[in-house]
Subunit: 253 residues, 2 copies
């Protein structure tokens, strides 16, 4: 039997927000691989699929791949290369290796780096990708605020983007999504208010969406200055140009 | 028992790209409701979940709600209101009504209009939303082209946006996603080439992603003029500023 390497999106956090296809793969894969930023930090993706793996008669090998949290490009690249080599060797023996990632494998994920090393350095490896529910739409679902409707343009902005650039983007978008982090949100509000958004624009801030610690804040852009914002990497904001009818008042759950 | 109204994302087309949570809801809901644009056109969302409904011992009531394909806002609004009323009445009797939508309920979906009428006109109705895999990340998965990595800004552009506005957005984004339709793509290329993208920028055009008729085209922006593009509402393009290493050559599957 031919082995393969499968990138598996496990969804935003709720173990039931994983796809049937992902579950099938995790029930049969020989090896479950997961990224680990720090040696002593448990993998969140692994926690989401734990119950699936525990139900297996024959437990899979769990391969936690450590990636250095460095900005040194060469060090990073050689680390991805080494991990790609480890996986490619296992695939060669006919094994299926499922690499699990939070959300979706092709959306701001560590899988992308590994996938790039794999296709460049081991093009013979049979590669599959199973998409997952992103925190993007999970946040819209939990807050009941549409991410995009009709002819609305949506801009997705990762952390670390200069606020002036965000202002320029805001001028041309109807909805903004600020990914990964709530840091700097209060400072960004006056810039957005000069870029087509107003004090009455709707804002949703979701921390740890669909996880047990989930916290949802809904209000107007003008209210953000009074919000008690807990900084968390797993935070997402959706900012909509218009005031949303059904969320006229500040609503914190 | 208290009834509820549940918006259920069924994913992009592949029946296995539905979440476990959605399957659970569809296995127990009293009523499965689906939007229908035309009386004589079968519902795609219903086709995706057909096998789940067929496995049920006690089949659910299937409620196909017809929405007029009109641009008359008042006619549309009264049509949504009428459908919200029908559903609210059923919820009142303790029933669970699952409204299924292709992809995700809060991402360019007809569910949004119904949801708005429901929260405004029947605020007593218990409302839940189950997010789904969008065609956005499904297209990235099938083409093996990342939707977004590191500090890339992504702009999602629905159909009907003026090409000059797309050009302005392109100046500030690293990736563009053109939703719903391939019409006008060839005419857009020269505009993108003046807005930060180049002849060597990567483009992916996916028609009917994850469905049996799926077609994937991958190439450079400069190649698009020679592409034989079949116009289809269920088409998505992902355009990445940079040339992607592992897709140097035009690759049509």
């Amino acid at each position: 039997m031919r082995g393969k390497f499968v990138g598996v999106g496990v969804g935003p956090g709720d173990p039931e927000l994983i796809t049937v296809k992902a579950v099938k793969t995790l029930k049969t894969a020989d090896v479950i691989s997961t990224p680990k930023a720090h040696e002593n930090k448990p993998s969140l993706a692994l926690a989401i699929v734990k119950h699936i793996l525990e139900e297996r008669e024959r437990p899979p090998e769990v391969l936690e791949l450590v990636f250095p949290m460095t900005k040194d490009k060469e060090e990073l690249k050689s680390s991805w290369s080494e991990n790609a080599r480890i996986i490619a060797e296992k695939v060669e023996t006919g094994k299926t290796i499922a690499f699990i990632t939070l959300g979706d494998p092709m959306f701001y994920s560590t899988f992308i780096y590994l996938c790039q090393r794999m296709t460049e350095e081991h093009p013979e490896v049979n590669l599959e990708i199973i998409p997952g529910v992103t925190s993007l739409t999970a946040c819209a679902a939990v807050s009941k605020i549409p991410l995009a409707e009709k002819n609305e343009v949506v801009a997705i902005i990762p952390s670390g983007i200069d606020s002036n650039r965000i202002g320029e983007i805001a001028k041309h978008a109807n909805s903004l999504v600020l990914m990964k982090g709530s840091k700097g949100l209060k400072k960004l509000v006056p810039i957005l208010e000069k870029s087509g958004f107003t004090k009455n624009s709707t804002i949703v801030l979701v921390r740890r969406c669909s996880m047990p610690e989930e916290k949802v804040m809904i209000g107007k852009l003008g209210d953000v200055k009074n919000w008690d914002i807990h900084e968390d990497y797993f935070s997402i904001s959706i900012i909509k140009e218009n005031e949303i009818q059904n969320n006229k008042k500040e609503n914190v759950t």
